[in-house]
Amino acid sequence: MHRVNWKALIAAVAGSAISQAAATEESVTTERAPATQRNFVTCPIVMDTLDVPCWVAEYEGERYYLTVQTGRGGGSEVYPFSPMLGHEVLVEGTISDEPRICGGIVLRDAKLSPMQDVTPGCGKVVPGEGYRTKGSRPIIPDGDPPGDRVNTAIPQPPPAVSREELAAQYRADVEARAQREWLVPYFFDSNYLPFPAEQRTVDEAARYAAEIGASRVEIVGYRGATILSEGGRVVEKAGIAQARAEKIADIFEFFEVPREKLAVSWNEEPEHSNGIRDYEKRRVTIRVVP
């Protein structure tokens, strides 16, 4: 990760720092994320709340709610990637006017990326302060406990499109040998495909390519950057776009899509969206051509 603190650089170099900005990924930028956004790197905090723990972060004297403890799986498709103590977390989200959760401002459409390097002592466990939160998984086993107790997990909202509808669409596309595209998102500096959503996305794309006997599969990897609320940017490490694309290609080949049908490319130039949902630029696109 390349992180430039705009304020520090201006303070360190008198006079002409801005005019001397070089055209590299470490260049000074006067950009900062819009006031509606909160993009920052910090050490996470987990609150020992009932029924499940609550993750928050502090930034410029304010507490922000990140997520409740969820886990992976359990019937839903998308879960936040919970932070890790011992790692800084990149928080990217839009300030919401929803009621606070765990005393923290809620960030809508938030993406949480644990930074890869270990930062000893980063983060802490704190008492629950009397807040109560429920998550998609209980602390005890899933499902309904014996006796009079009830499952405390809150059911996940149904997806916008049901699995049955998605499966039907998939079958129809296979029948029609339609061209299809998939987008695989990533956490910051990560080449990891979490369970379940990203793994299922790639699995489906590879299965589709094999089923229709695709003539070509275009795999393009991208490298992202995030404009921070304090100014400056964090930029993903060099080579990540290539690594992402090549890993997806390796997976397709493992699933018996011939290598010669894979058109693999990448864009090393970091992309961002001026601080709004910059995380969407961290991606691999897959296009299966019949």
Binding site: V46, S82, M84, I139, F195
Partner: protein
């Protein structure tokens, strides 16, 4: 502790005989006489099963252990061991599969059995073959000091070429992401001029416990995975069985290096038995796999709890429950929790010692299912998006219904190999183990919790993949037959059930009360 001491004392007096088919139990004080009818078993000391023995492995038998007895179901019926390849020396050093997978020890090897075998044969049994039954192959044979890892800790030496010559699988590093230095070498093998890291054929030696070859239907089923074709922990595809095309879940062997039982057999022949699977016919290979795939075992009698298989008792206990149970079911769900229920034993007013013990086991199961723990810094768990820490209970990881291994495929790093977690509470005795310093390159993702410099007693899966992320990670073991096969954990550093519980207590700061601790110990002792 009082209950445990009482159990051990009673163990020396009990003997009983189970007639297979009738379920008749004849209580303590009678000398058990084994009927020659193949279908009947006996619960004496069945003794060592030597390669080439001419015996009958019955349909059902019980073998005494310190906690009571282990029950074994040979579901396909009795067999003659003479000529059966599981019981015959099929390699070049006199060993058979049964050498390291003894029925009395839950088809693993207990330290007690190893020591007895040494005494009975003056160290001449093929078990002590220097290739891996010695601390290092070139040490003086016949000297107990040369075999201290096996004799004192129950460990077999596994040597890995280092660095490896070719990638283990498509997801491994082309070249290892880390370097290895030897920090401590109690056995001398890792610094040996012939077998060490700086030898002409450099290798690294680690020391591991033999894994049980029983209840395999709960471990090896090809449907054993959560996310179809992917390893949900690593985010890459699962290996494929070349014969069936089914994806496998890395459950075999401590580092998951065998995808199928056939591959495990090939590996064992090559590195443990001085043989080759190429020397076996396909029918012989299948005969071995068939045998081990239909062996079910569990504790069936406990010196204090009594019969574990009586009608109306806890439904998950005893080998018949495993034979008849449903496999590849997620035990982290109330519909099918790992060891079902112990309601038959639950009471707040026990009338005697037996009822008190049984009630303790029931509480132990409650703790297993519902006692919250802050699970932290476990690679392959906290690092895959669960969050670090993650507050849940034992069953979140010990989630295969009926056996308590991991329902999610792949490896995890509990901490028994890597510092500082291996030293949590100073519970585990690891001073006899080698210690390595692994330094990860700056351009690769570091170990999620240890960072770029990792001190470890066993790099685990990382010796195959070369990935920093995998340092110390291993496949979780099932929880059955723990009464039969001390010591525990892959490196044998937990000498007793007490050590197992005390390690978890320290590792995850559980703050167990003395009652909770004893309840969990008692619970483990009946599985």
């Amino acid at each position: 502790m009082k209950l445990l001491r009482t159990a051990l004392e009673k163990g020396r007096r009990h003997a009983y005989w189970i007639a297979g088919g009738t379920g008749l139990v004849i209580a303590a004080g009678m000398v058990a006489v084994a009927d020659d009818t193949p279908t009947q078993g006996y619960a004496e000391d069945s003794g060592w099963w030597s390669p080439g023995d001419d015996r009958v492995f019955p349909e059902r038998l019980s073998i005494r252990n310190n906690f009571g007895s282990i029950g074994i179901v040979n579901a396909d019926g009795p067999i003659e061991t003479k000529g059966h390849p599981f019981f015959e020396p099929i390699g070049g050093n006199g060993r058979a599969c049964v050498t390291c997978h003894q029925p009395a020890d839950g088809f693993s090897l207990s330290l007690e059995t190893i020591q007895q075998r040494w005494a009975d044969t003056n160290g001449q049994d093929p078990l002590f073959d220097p290739v891996d039954g010695a601390n290092c192959p070139n040490l003086p044979q016949g000297d107990p000091e040369s075999h201290s890892m096996l004799l004192e800790h129950g460990l077999i030496r596994i040597g890995f070429p280092w660095p490896y010559k070719e990638r283990f699988d498509p997801w491994s590093a082309e070249e290892p992401e880390f370097t290895i230095e030897v920090v401590r070498d109690p056995t001398g093998c890792n610094t040996d001029p012939e077998y060490g890291l700086n030898s002409d054929n450099p290798q690294i030696s680690v020391y591991r416990r033999p894994r049980p070859t029983t209840n395999l239907r709960y471990i090896v089923d090809p449907s054993y995975n959560l996310s179809g074709r992917f390893n949900n922990k690593t985010g890459v595809p699962l290996p494929v069985d070349p014969k069936t095309g089914a994806h496998t879940a890395l459950p075999i062997m401590s580092d998951g290096r065998a995808d199928t039982l056939e591959q495990q057999l090939a590996d064992a022949l090559r590195i443990h038995m001085a043989g080759s699977i190429d020397d076996l016919s396909p029918e012989t290979v299948q005969q071995i796999i068939n045998f081990e795939s239909q062996i079910y075992s569990a504790q069936d009698f406990h010196n204090v709890a009594g019969s574990l298989t009586e009608p109306g008792g806890p439904p998950a206990l005893g080998p018949e429950a495993l034979r008849d149970g449903r496999s590849i079911i997620n035990g982290n769900n109330w519909r099918s929790v790992t060891f079902l229920d112990f309601e038959a034993w639950r009471t707040d007013e026990p009338k005697d010692e037996q009822e008190a013990f049984r009630a303790s086991v029931a509480r132990g199961n409650d703790l297993f299912l519902e006692r919250p723990i802050w699970i932290s810094e476990v690679t392959g768990f906290n690092s895959i998006g669960m969050g670090n820490p993650y507050k849940r209970t034992c069953v979140i990881c010990h989630s295969v219904h009926m056996t308590g291994n991991d329902f999610a495929p792949g490896v995890m790093d509990l901490g028994v190999n890597n510092k500082p977690w291996a030293d949590a509470g100073y519970v585990l005795d690891n001073t006899h183990l080698p210690l390595f310093k692994l330094t990860c390159r700056e351009d690769v993702p570091p170990h999620p919790f240890a960072g770029r410099v990792v001190y470890t007693h066993d790099p685990g899966r990382a010796l195959l993949t070369g990935l920093c992320h995998d340092i110390g990670s291993l496949v979780m073991q099932p929880m059955r037959n723990m009464a039969s096969r001390a010591p525990y954990f892959s490196n044998g550093t937990a000498k007793s059930l007490e050590d197992v519980i005390d390690y978890y207590d320290a590792r995850f700061d559980m703050k167990l009360t003395e009652q909770e601790r004893q309840d969990l110990i008692n619970f483990l002792s009946v599985l």
